[in-house]
């Protein structure tokens, strides 16, 4: 009885506690940040990966090399000639969301394509995947889509064993051009090579000042080791952290969207690259960092109100690293 009473009391006090810790909720994200700072007319820039690529390149950002685009059914069979000279490649729907419909091929020979797991797929399988992509199976609202073929990213050695069968990507929330919170998403066996936290990927919160791991969670519960490779997650340090944050911060210049999630990868040879931009970034980053977004967002809003502005990504990154060191 006493226990029940304590539980009920704990539940009633939850909102107060969460607010004290500055946890951003879905309603507030939609109303006070996305709805207020993201101009809907700019959404197409980030909802279409081809356009994102273009604006990122114009802004001087590094992006995965484009091998080609397949726009209609009649060109589907050309995929084999297209990738002939590339050892590995990735096929993505231009308007896919949440990592849906991404086919990764690490090597191929004589019409046999190999996936990261070692499984082989046939020419027909690859063609069918592209047909599905064109029909809109993976895109928002089932709209017709195009298939983007990109060079395979070879992720940096420092990430070895932090991810299982998938490229670990780094998500940075950028508010008015200031990076406010970051995490790395490492795929696991239970997330099936995908980097989505709600599907079981491990989220590692990163210190904005140093790029070092602060905390890691899987399914909202703290973890200390990667569940598949057993690598201790607190050893994670992102190399080229400054460069990566600058790249993330430049998303503000690229899109003009006030509240944005920048997804990046570190390539072995080419350094940090922008994978995609997200105008509706999720809230799981707070769980990974064990802290709320609100105080950080409010600090930036306070800067704005005082009329302080920093015009280059480098300046803003410097400000963020000072403000948000953990």
């Amino acid at each position: 009885m006493k226990q029940l009473f304590r539980n009920i009391r704990g539940f009633i006090e939850l909102p107060k506690k969460l607010r004290q810790r500055g946890i951003l909720g879905m309603n507030q994200r939609n109303h006070s940040y996305i709805g207020r700072y993201n101009d809907r007319s700019k959404y197409p820039l980030v909802d279409d990966k081809l356009k994102t690529k273009q604006i990122a390149q114009q802004a001087g950002a590094t992006v995965p090399e484009l091998i080609g685009v397949i726009e209609s059914q009649v060109h589907v069979k050309e995929i084999h000639d297209l990738v002939a000279d590339w050892p590995g490649f990735v096929i993505k729907p231009a308007q896919g969301s949440g990592g849906k419909g991404i086919l990764v091929i690490t090597s191929h020979q004589d019409g046999r394509y190999t996936k990261p797991s070692g499984a082989e797929v046939s020419r027909e399988d690859v063609e069918r995947h592209i047909t599905n992509t064109l029909a809109g199976l993976f895109s928002l609202g089932g709209k017709n889509d195009v298939a983007v073929v990109e060079n395979l990213i070879e992720f940096d050695d420092s990430f070895a064993d932090f991810s299982y069968e998938g490229v670990p990507d780094i998500r940075v929330i950028v508010f008015h051009g200031y990076p406010v919170m970051a995490m790395m998403r490492c795929s696991t066996a239970s997330s099936d090579g995908k980097a989505n936290l709600h599907q079981g990927a491990v989220g590692v919160g990163l210190d904005i000042a140093t790029g070092k791991a602060v905390r890691a969670v899987q399914f909202d519960h703290p973890v200390s080791h990667h569940p598949d490779t057993q690598r201790p997650l607190d050893q994670l340090v992102i190399p080229d952290w400054e460069q990566l944050l600058v790249l993330a911060a430049s998303a503000w210049e690229m899109t003009g969207l006030g509240y944005i999630g920048t997804d990046m990868v570190l390539d072995k040879s080419r350094g940090p690259m922008v994978l995609e931009l997200n105008a509706r970034p999720g809230l799981a980053i707070q769980t990974a960092n064990g802290t709320g977004l609100l105080p950080r967002l409010q600090k930036i809003e306070a800067l704005k109100q005082q009329g302080i502005s920093h015009n280059t990504p480098e300046e803003r990154v410097a400000v963020s690293r000072e403000l948000f060191a953990s």
Partner: protein, 502 residues
């Protein structure tokens, strides 16, 4: 920062206007806040059942007309595969259903809606003098003796009838006992009156009581009153005189209520519901007084009003959905799909509705998983799912009908296109996120639909939304305010509960 003041002023204005309109309707038009006891509209449904022989079948049923205290406002019939016609024969209206070939158990519904109205206008045709009926010797003598006695004690037709009924109900009266040995009371009364050339007839009546089902008609006797030039109604069993307010004359001829050719074991039963529409009646009179503020939906014909009764409930459903999503954080498949499903539930009743929904979506998902393997283009795939849904509905309807589950027939009320999209979306969800997410969202949708259904069928909610249009403004204001809510959703309290510990 946008100035929110105008917004809150606007919301406050909405609430004020809403409250003012409601108060106005309450005080000026006398519309009660709660569904009242005064019930003035009746919906009566006749359910005709028979076993068809497999030949052409023809069903004729007498149907009611305007009469003292009741005005027929609407009638409809539902009978699968039957042709239907309404025939006006002199005073008696008849509905006739026909079909070229029918076999097995048949069901025909006829529904009439009556508005109780003390000033109802209706036609009266003066009857011709009846030919006197003759009974065989002993009974004829008994009848004449009763008549002789009754004539002495009466002044006109109604009083004569009253006296005769008194005699018929007198257990001591041997003449009456003799007559009632071979004929029933109402026939005896009509025969007796015919001997004095007094027009009288046995009519089929229904005593209207709210929510009664499986009722059958009762014989009453109408006697022509020459002075008043109208029919006077008698209950031959009690001698009660005059028409009770809740007595409806269904047919002017008790004998030929129902005629079925091409079938056997025919039967007709009646169910009735009262609707509290006293506010409308009140309003209608006021409209005639030409009030400017009365461009309300209550000035529409009853049929359209009935439609608005449902339409006016949809904002309540929307409010619930907004609440469940913004405050609770329930996941549903398609934002307002649950509201449409709830509207279908209103037609099908809850339990058959839920079973029907699960059957359609479950079977649809199985068919869709096969289509998924065929690798079709999207539009073709959805179209195929729509056709599959229609076929599922047809098969279930036929099966339900064959096994005698008449509730199963209502499955056709489900919105097919919406269901097809639901199946499509859930199927994609299944492939991408796994079965768990399908059950989470499907369960969320169903829960929302049930809650919306419960709100929509609540007597109080129906009364308030339909009679107080001002409430719609208040609902709008509430929705606008909820659109401003930036607090945590209940589901987020669970999601982030670990962050509150540490």
């Amino acid at each position: 920062m946008i100035n929110r003041l105008p917004f809150y002023l606007f919301v406050a204005a909405l609430v004020l206007v809403g409250v003012a309109l409601s108060l106005y309707r309450h005080s000026v038009y006398g519309v009660p806040w709660f569904p009242g006891e005064q019930r003035e509209q009746w919906e009566i449904e006749a359910r005709i059942e028979f076993t068809a022989n497999g030949d052409p079948a023809k069903v004729a049923m007498a149907i009611p007309n305007d009469q003292q205290n009741f005005i027929l406002t609407d009638e409809s019939s539902s009978s699968q595969g039957y042709g239907v016609a309404i025939l006006e024969q002199k005073e008696q209206r008849k509905a006739e259903w026909s079909i070229r070939s029918a076999e097995g158990q048949q069901l025909i519904y006829y529904k009439a809606r009556f508005l109780a109205d003390a000033d109802a206008q209706y036609q009266i045709r003066p009857p011709s003098k009846p030919r006197p009926q003759y009974l065989e010797d002993v009974r004829q003598t008994a009848a004449l003796s009763m008549l002789q006695d009754a004539m002495k004690r009466s002044a006109d037709n109604p009083t004569l009838a009253r006296e005769l009924i008194r005699q018929l109900n007198d257990v001591q009266n041997q003449n009456a006992a003799l007559l009632l040995n071979s004929m029933n009371r109402e026939d005896a009364l009509v025969s007796l009156l015919s001997m004095e050339a007094v027009p009288a007839r046995t009519v089929a009546t229904l005593m209207l009581e709210d929510g009664r089902r499986r009722q059958s008609v009762q014989p009453w006797v109408q006697v022509w009153d020459e002075q008043k030039e109208q029919w006077q109604l008698f209950n031959p069993r009690t001698g009660a005189e005059g028409k009770p307010d809740n007595l409806l004359i269904w047919s002017l001829d008790y004998q030929s209520l129902l005629d079925v050719i091409g079938g056997r074991q025919s039967d007709v039963s009646f169910s009735m519901i009262a609707q509290d529409i006293s506010p409308e009646t009140a309003t209608r009179e006021k409209i005639e007084a030409n009030d400017l503020l009365n461009f309300s939906i209550h000035s529409l014909p009853v049929e359209e009003q009935a439609m608005f009764k449902t339409i006016m409930l949809i904002p309540v459903g929307a409010l619930l959905v907004v609440f469940l999503r913004i405050i609770v954080g329930l996941k549903t498949s398609g934002t307002f799909m649950p509201v449409l499903i709830a509207v279908a539930f209103v037609q099908t009743e809850l339990v058959p509705g839920i079973i029907g929904f699960l059957l359609i979506v479950g079977t649809g998902l199985m068919i869709r998983s096969y289509l998924s393997r065929l690798n079709l283009l999207l539009v073709a795939r959805i179209s195929a799912v729509i056709i599959a849904v229609i076929m599922i509905i047809s098969v279930f309807t036929v099966v339900a009908y064959r096994v005698g589950l008449l509730e199963g027939l209502s499955i056709t009320f489900f919105p097919m296109i919406i269901l097809s999209w639901t199946i499509e979306r859930m199927s994609i969800l299944w492939e991408e996120e796994g079965a768990k997410e399908v059950f989470v969202q499907g369960g969320g949708s169903l829960l929302t639909a049930v809650l919306v259904y419960l709100a929509m069928t609540s007597e109080l909610v129906r009364h308030l939304t339909f009679n107080f249009v001002g409430l719609q403004l208040i609902i709008l204001a509430l929705i606008l305010l909820l659109g401003n809510y930036t607090g945590y959703r209940l589901s987020e309290l669970r999601r982030f509960r670990h962050l509150a510990q540490d």
